[in-house]
């Protein structure tokens, strides 16, 4: 909502500077988003008269206006191309030296040889309209010659833009804001509500002779009032009403509509005006709509209603969606003469549901949803009559129809000063508590209890329901910033859970391994899954879709971290990055079927490109670099029974020959690693060889959770080392040989490391050689050469029998 300072001063005579008022409103809970000065940049603009117009000797499209800025000043020549200049016009004028709102300073210039000493301004040049004006702005003839344009146009006003939270419904009108200011900052001032008096046209009889109101559904409409004004001439509103509405951000339309908007802004009471002669039999029926009932609303849209919505109708047809929007069939038009004014209280929940369903959020529905002051509906109606009565010829029919089936029962809340002090951490006397609430308009009665009150909530405080609400009010009066600062004593020790500690450790380790942490969107585009061929992997196709997505790009919840990570890698590669290594931890979501809660899994994923250490001459430096990081991670979280096993028939988004499942205890797959399929890498702007992994973080935590560090005595006996080089068929996995050696080596084999593999010269086609270093050691004695040799030979024989592997050089 936006309010004008000048208008506000009509209701309370305050003299705060605009900045001060802005601060005060914000600190009262009416957050000011911004303050605009209407006369911004117009200080130098004065009112001038075009005395005569001369032709430009050297240009057809230009004329020379001779302009006067005072009764006895010289004529000033101004060259202009504006098509609408005429002698005698009063115009806004910028003299030489004046600065326009855009910052431009007017200088003396020659246009096609003719001197021009000033500028006659158009509306857009003055910042009064956005679009370019066709010509200069022309003022009324009574504009004061030489006077200030700001003063004349009453632009010496400040507009406060308020961002009101739902509990400030009472401040959706000028009187409400003024009352709030008085309560908190200017108790000594009076609240100047408009004095309402107008003449009723006795000769017209009584409203009951014309109008009948029947409320069929009082739960949706507890109170409905109506007044009738006859013989109204529909025309433009007076300037002052238009000015007020514009300041409030409302577009003036005609006197009837403008007056109803004016009262809305003043009293926070939405009114509706009907063309009375279009209401059949003068009968208003307030009822639920029929299922599928149709109605054309003021915005020329046909609305299909349902039986939860409230309509205002006559015996034949619905004439308004109650509290939301009027119908086109009874709209006030230029032909209207008799106006029926509705001022009612509608059920907030019903209004909100209806406005939502119909997609019609209006100034009216906004206020009814939050609750208006049910006790003020007649006053607002009278105010509108008073204003209409001032229009030529308009005559107010005596009497008001007040149909009020559900009488307002004010809430009464019991409150003790002790509880207030306890909750706020202050020490107020009972009398101070009472006084604070009374300032805000609450009625406070002492009970027999010690420091206990019964607080009656006024009808305009639709937000106050219980003690806590009153406590906030007392805190507002007291001042939030005057409340002391204390700190509650903690009886517990703060900590992270084991699971949280584990995740922190994993992150640290991956960073030590050179991987940067990334955070990507968990809402994604289904298309990126198709582009990456991810949907072919069953788990990744279990999408959870968003019912009301912002766009396709945020249409589904991620089922894997991969698309996010791949996007990071490809965008960095595109930008210029020659290498990158990243990881992310986060939730992925899997659809578990209709109406079931989707599964949320914690995953760890990552990717790498740009490595060039051609480890083991496999031509897959990225794969082995990333695998190395994972092995380090597993080692450091003390996971021992893991293995990387070639992945033969899953995950076609990876290179068929360069992908592995990561298994626990040989059987349970808890992750994978692999190169992105070369064709997909190419299509998705990824450097060749880009390798990714993903694993189940919760599973990794579970299987390592119990592990804690345990000291093993350092062995003091010597290590005997042996190198073992074997030749075997090239399709045998070195990992299998590694495991075989380890198994055969037994407890005395303390170290086993591959240091070379080789194919080529001296190795037969179809074969490969692998060289290991074996370290033997006993914990209780010095091993003899003989013992070690025996064990070594057992290993060699085993490899020969099981894998047909031959010792190299033998």
């Amino acid at each position: 909502m936006q309010i004008s300072y000048n208008w506000l001063k009509k209701y309370i005579d305050i003299n705060f500077t605009p900045a001060d008022l802005s601060e005060k409103l914000t600190m009262a809970g009416l957050e000011v988003e911004g303050v605009d000065y209407l006369g911004e940049g117009l200080d130098d603009i004065i009112i001038a008269r075009i005395e005569k117009i001369k032709e430009h000797p050297d240009a057809d499209k230009l004329v020379i206006c001779m302009v006067k800025t005072g009764s006895d000043t010289e004529l000033i020549p101004v060259v202009t191309g504006a098509p609408n200049v005429e002698a005698g016009q009063m115009v806004p004028f910028a003299e030489v030296g004046a600065v326009l709102p855009g910052g431009m300073q007017i200088e003396e210039v020659k246009l096609r040889g003719e001197l021009s000493r000033g500028m006659i301004c158009s509306k857009d040049e003055l910042g009064l309209q956005e679009e370019r004006a066709a010509g200069i702005m022309v003022l009324d003839d009574d504009a004061p010659l030489g006077g200030s344009f700001i003063k004349y146009k009453r632009l010496d006003d400040y507009i406060f833009k308020l961002d009101l939270t739902p509990n400030y419904a009472r401040c959706l009108g000028m009187i409400g804001v003024a009352r709030e200011i008085k309560s908190l900052y200017a108790q000594e001032k009076t609240l100047n509500t408009p004095p309402i008096s107008f003449e009723e046209a006795e000769e017209l009889g009584d409203i009951n002779d014309y109008v009948e109101v029947e409320i069929e559904d009082p739960d949706l409409c507890p109170r409905y009032t109506a007044r009738l004004v006859k013989n109204v001439q529909i025309k433009e509103s007076p300037e002052w009403i238009q000015r007020r509405l514009k300041a409030a951000g409302i577009r003036p339309i005609n006197n009837v509509v403008d007056i109803s908007n004016f009262v809305l802004m003043e009293y926070n009471q939405p009114l509706h005006t009907f063309d009375f002669n279009k209401i059949k039999d003068g009968k208003i029926i307030v009822r639920r709509a029929k299922a599928e009932e149709k109605m054309l609303t003021l915005d020329e849209e046909e609305r299909i209603l349902d039986d939860e919505m409230l309509v205002i109708s006559d015996p034949e047809k619905a004439v308004a969606v109650g509290g939301v929007m009027g119908g086109a069939n009874t709209e006030v038009t230029e032909e209207t003469t008799d106006v029926l004014i509705e001022s009612a209280y509608f059920n907030p929940v019903s209004i909100r549901k209806t406005a939502k369903k119909l997609g019609m959020h209006s100034d009216s529905s906004h206020r009814f949803e939050r609750g208006v002051d049910i006790e003020k509906v007649i006053e607002a109606n009278n105010r509108a009559c008073q204003m209409l009565a001032k229009c030529d010829g308009a005559r107010v029919v005596p009497g008001v129809i007040d149909n009020y089936p559900l009488k307002f029962e004010p809430a009464v809340i019991t409150l003790t000063a002790e509880r207030v002090n306890e909750l706020l951490g202050i020490e107020l006397e009972a009398a101070e508590v009472k006084e604070s609430l009374e300032r805000l308009g609450f009625t406070v009665e002492k009970t027999t209890g010690e420091g206990e009150f019964e607080v009656t909530v006024p009808s305009f405080r639709t937000d106050v329901e219980q003690g806590a609400d009153l406590v906030e009010e007392i805190a507002r009066v007291y001042g939030y910033n005057k409340i002391p600062s204390t700190r509650p004593i903690s009886k517990q020790r703060g900590k992270r859970s084991p699971r949280q500690k584990f995740e922190a450790k994993v992150k640290k380790l991956l960073q030590a391994g050179g991987l940067d942490e990334v955070i990507t969107y968990s809402l994604q585009d289904k298309k990126s899954y198709q582009d990456l061929n991810l949907t072919q992997f069953e788990d990744y196709a279990k999408f959870v879709s968003i019912k009301n997505p912002l766009s396709e790009a945020f249409g589904i919840l991620r089922t894997t971290l991969l698309p996010g990570i791949i996007e990071v890698l490809s965008s960095n590669a595109r930008r210029q990055g020659s290498e990158m290594a990243v990881f992310e931890t986060g939730t992925v979501f899997r659809n578990k079927g209709l109406s079931s809660r989707p599964e949320e899994l914690n995953k760890l994923g990552g990717g790498i490109f740009g490595q060039n250490n051609n480890l083991w001459q496999q031509g897959a430096p990225n794969f082995f670099a990333l695998k190395g990081v994972l092995e380090m991670l597993f080692n450091r979280v003390q996971l021992d029974k893991y293995s990387f096993i070639a992945d033969n028939d899953n995950r076609d988004f990876l290179h068929p020959g360069r992908r592995a499942e990561i298994k626990y205890d040989q059987t349970q797959t808890f992750g994978f690693i692999g190169e992105i399929h070369p064709e997909l890498a190419d299509q998705n702007n990824l450097p060749a060889g880009t390798t990714v992994f993903e694993l189940d973080l919760d599973f990794l935590f579970e299987i390592t959770a119990e592990k804690s560090y345990q000291y093993h005595k350092l062995v003091k006996y010597p290590v005997l080392a042996r190198d073992l080089a074997i030749v075997m068929a090239e399709d045998i996995a070195v990992g299998d040989i590694h495991q075989a050696i380890r198994a055969k080596g037994g407890s005395m084999l303390k170290g086993l490391e591959l240091f070379d593999i080789y194919q080529g010269d001296q190795i037969e086609d179809g074969y490969q050689s692998a060289a290991f270093e074996l370290k033997f050691q006993a914990e209780d004695r010095t091993l003899t050469d003989q013992e070690v040799n025996e064990r070594f030979n057992q290993i060699v024989n085993h490899l020969k029998e099981e894998y047909s592997a031959e010792i190299r050089g033998n």
Binding site: G29, I426, E472, A475, R597
Partner: protein, 341 residues
């Protein structure tokens, strides 16, 4: 002939020649020349038979003295030569210490993680535990249990992304408040960092996905002044001692009284600048006393227990703390960005 004169002469000659020696080889030659089996000193011993017997002890003694003397000279000279040679070798081994060191790339933490961890550490120090909750929530936990009934205007404060009629993406971390209260008896002291979702178009200051931290303290006798003191401490830990903090009335359905917490602008210090929209203040969190309805719905006795809650936007905090002007940068993960932290 006077052997003593000979010795004197040998001594002088040896001393002179030693000065010319510059290598260990030359030194060895000199040693042989003077101290070898056929060397100069030995030749004096071999001539002993030719002198008077009473002179022999004198000459013998002097010859031994000279032998030792030369030996010492040779030793000292050898040391000098070796030192010199070592020096020469070290010089040859000289390296350019200004050449760059071996490349070690430690991975970085995402700035959002840094901010989250900083928050967590502050609160752990204050006796808080870290709570978690699902990102897909039910209407009940996200709204109803937080005193936001189905047709309340407060629902407009957060544009919600729905999955179906039952589930939605949590719009705030506040549901964790309710889940925690349901799962445990008071006292409660938790923070709950996590991802939240809103139906907000992506631009420089809005993102449909962002991060919050919820905080909740419940016990007997918790007051608004406890809320103030705790939040002031957090602001000090995050932004330093020089910041002013102000509390102003606001509205959250699940707290009453509610407050918005502002901190004096980190750029202008309160003078007014574009960052703070010329107000001198930056809005950093919402807070308030837990609404009695929320306590009641979670099964706590509202007449016995009270508490406070707050919510901080972690993305906003990261933007403020590191001077980032566009929230989208956080999620682009440009390496040049990540490597600034």
């Amino acid at each position: 002939m006077d052997l003593l004169d000979d010795l004197k002469k040998i001594e002088n000659e040896a001393e002179e020649e030693l000065k010319e020696v510059e290598s260990l080889d030359q030194l060895e030659e000199l040693r042989i020349k003077y101290l070898g089996k056929k060397g100069a000193v030995q030749s004096v011993f071999s001539k002993m038979g030719k002198i008077k017997p009473e002179q022999r002890p004198v000459v013998g003694k002097e010859a031994n003295i000279l032998k030792n003397k030369i030996q010492n000279w040779l030793g000292e000279h050898q040391e000098r030569l070796e030192k010199k040679a070592a020096q020469k070798r070290f010089e040859a081994e000289k390296i350019d210490v200004t050449l760059p060191g071996g490349k070690v790339e430690a991975g970085r933490s995402h700035p959002l993680s840094l901010v989250t961890k900083e928050m967590e550490d502050i609160f752990i120090g204050l006796g808080f535990e870290i709570a978690e909750g699902p990102e897909v929530e039910s209407e009940y936990y996200n709204f109803e249990a937080l005193n936001i009934p189905a047709h309340h205007p407060a629902r407009d404060l957060q544009d919600t992304l729905y999955i179906d009629d039952h589930y939605l993406l949590r719009t705030h971390t506040s549901p964790v408040q309710v889940r925690t209260m349901e799962a445990q008896e008071p006292p409660v002291r938790i923070i709950a960092p996590g991802r939240v979702y809103r139906s907000d178009e992506l631009d420089a200051s809005h993102s449909p996905i962002f991060h919050q931290t919820e905080g909740l303290v419940i016990d007997k006798g918790i007051s608004f002044s406890d809320l103030k003191g705790s939040i002031e401490l957090i602001v000090e830990a995050l932004f330093g001692k020089d910041r002013d903090v102000r509390f102003r009335p606001s509205y959250f359905p699940f707290t009453e009284p509610s407050a918005e917490v502002d901190v004096s602008c980190i750029v202008c210090g309160g003078e007014g600048c574009p960052l703070c929209s010329r107000t001198g203040w930056l809005e950093i969190m919402g807070a308030g006393m837990v609404h009695p309805n929320v306590l009641e719905m979670s099964g706590y006795n509202k007449n016995v227990y009270s508490g406070f809650a707050f919510g901080v936007g972690l993305d906003r905090l990261a933007l403020l703390k590191y001077g980032i002007d566009d929230i989208r940068v956080l999620y682009e993960n440009d390496k040049r960005f990540l490597h600034q932290f």
